[in-house]
């Protein structure tokens, strides 16, 4: 297998707030291969966005990356100097955000905002950069790109604004694009178009994509592989078909069970009881144990001992005692 483009190991990003420590990201392991679309899924507050910002090294005080390594394209991102990291941002790793309309500078024409990248980073002159910008607007499906390049952000719709953001993010042909909930603020029909566009542009440029979302429907539509996060950790990683067919972790099963299926005769959607635990305490045992409907099958081990990451096949990893062969034996013995 080829070397992964991005590999995160044991990443810990903690926030040192007034009311104590919050372990927003607490031991995340993640790999992204060249050209791959990875869906990063989880509930609100599980650390998806902080993981993404950590890769960009854009975590602001009081947050700090306190442990782990982030290797990108054979370099250790965490050991780069601030100016080296600024060079990586935009040119090699780009990011787009949840609210496209407020991610654009309101007092600058959108064409200029794209052209800016070429002028600042590639040393192009204004005319050439402007021409490139119009080409990019056309490539992301903006109608009448010459006219729209002169528009200000408030003259665009949400979908158009997100297309412009995609154009800016991909302008320097980065190797990795991180999209943080790129379609959450858009309505459903536009969502599908923007997702299709994201996938198409990334495949065309050979750019890897990390798609951060809480929407499993989005993941199913776009991702090649999925990582499910819970309480600051990745609890399951699997190819997308495998995840939807045979989810291994009880949390993933819960998430999938809570999606309404159109036309299916489900009497009641399954909910996961309780809330995501606050990430400020020191946890013993599995972080999902308190909400897990299946913990009794393994016995008390879930409450006392944190499960390790267990490999279950190629590209398939689970952080759950149920996946431990010893647990299966025990279960059989109990039965």
């Amino acid at each position: 297998m080829t070397e992964p483009l991005l590999s995160i190991e044991g990443l810990k990003t903690h926030f040192f707030g007034y009311d104590g420590l919050v372990r927003a990201v607490d031991g995340v392991d993640l790999e992204v291969n060249p050209g791959e679309v990875l869906g990063l899924v989880g509930e609100s507050g599980c650390g998806k966005t902080v993981t993404a910002l950590s890769v960009m090294r854009l975590v602001d005080a009081p947050g700090r990356i306190v442990g782990g390594t982030i290797r990108f394209d054979r370099r250790d991102l965490l050991s780069l100097s601030a100016s080296e990291m600024a060079q990586v941002r935009g040119a090699e790793i780009a990011m787009i955000f949840q609210q496209p309309k407020v991610s654009l500078n309101p007092v600058m024409r959108v064409g200029r905002q794209i052209a800016e990248q070429f002028i600042r980073r590639r040393g192009m002159d204004e005319a050439a950069a402007w021409k490139e910008a119009i080409g990019l607007l056309a490539a992301v499906g903006i109608p009448a790109p010459e006219a729209k390049a002169r528009a200000y952000p408030h003259e665009l719709s949400g979908g158009q604004a997100q297309r412009v953001m995609i154009a800016i993010a991909l302008s320097l042909k980065p190797k990795l694009l991180i999209a943080d909930e790129p379609t959450t603020a858009l309505d459903v029909t536009v969502q599908a178009q923007v997702l299709a566009l994201l996938r198409e542009r990334c495949k065309a440029l050979g750019t890897s994509l990390i798609l951060v979302t809480h929407d499993l429907g989005v993941v199913a539509q776009v991702a090649d592989r999925v990582a499910v996060m819970y309480a600051g950790q990745v609890v399951e990683q699997a190819p997308v078909e495998r995840l939807f067919e045979a989810p291994e972790h009880p949390y993933t099963r819960g998430l999938l069970g809570s999606i309404p299926v159109l036309g299916a005769l489900k009497p009641r959607l399954v909910e996961i009881p309780g809330n995501v635990p606050t990430l400020d305490g020191v946890s013993v045992g599995c972080r999902f144990a308190a909400r897990c409907g299946e913990r009794l099958r393994v016995g008390s081990r879930c409450e006392t001992e944190a499960p390790p990451v267990i490999a279950r096949g190629p590209g398939l990893q689970v952080r759950c005692w149920l996946a431990d062969p010893a647990a299966a034996d025990k279960e059989r013995a109990l039965a």
Partner: protein, 295 residues
Amino acid sequence: MSSLALERAVEARAVIRRAGWRWTLRQLFRKRTALIGGAVVLFLIVCALWAPDFVPYDPFKVNTLNRLKPPSAAHWLGTDELGRDLLSRVLIGARFFVLVCLISVSIAASVGVFLGLIAGSGPSWLDVAVMRVIDVMLAFPYILLTLAIIAILGPSLWMAMISVGIAGIPGYARLVRGEVLAVKQEEYVEAMRALGAGPAAIMVRAILPNVASSIIIYMSFQMPLAVLAAAALSFLGLGAQPPLPEWGAMLVNARTFLRTAWWTSAAPGLAIFVSILALNLLGNALRDVLDPKSK
């Protein structure tokens, strides 16, 4: 006073953001008060530039035979204690009005904006250091502060303008710092960082243009205050010195004749009154157009 202006400037920025400058100007032209204020200010600027070409008499020419003459066909506003034509002196005096506007407001705005920017975007120790100095300046009443600065610099028209400028710095610094802190939280600044923009690029391309509109509006509120303060300093003998036809300085001389020759006080007094009124009308009209609550 200044915190109210501050609030208005912040609100106005939001409106301009939504509606654009062209809309703002069109609304302004529809207001009669804005037109009157604008016309007076325009007239003052014309006087400042070309008054020597059209004043009826030499404003410095002493004519002892014509001392303290009441308004007449020959001298529309009368003459002062040295027989100088008051109309000519008042018109020439517009020059100092415009000069005070330009010099003290640009000193206050340039230094204040710079301090606000570094306080708002620099490291926190710099923020604390700058803002505590600003707080100390704010602790003094406005006129007292200008007096203190004059006491250090020495009395003259230029020093009066500089001191009024310095006394205006804290308002701008506070406004800009607050706005920078707000703009810094905006997603487009985060997005620019994510695209690899350095702090200097973010400052020049994102923060400054987004703060500019509040600065302009705040200026329109500060200008009349600056002019009034400069005239007050001249009145106290700490600004323009006689025989300069600065309105405040003219009032001091006229005070002696208040009971016998009222027109010597009326001419510069009315000039100050009308010009400040014009600036205020303009500023208020701007606020009315831009403040959603006043509609």
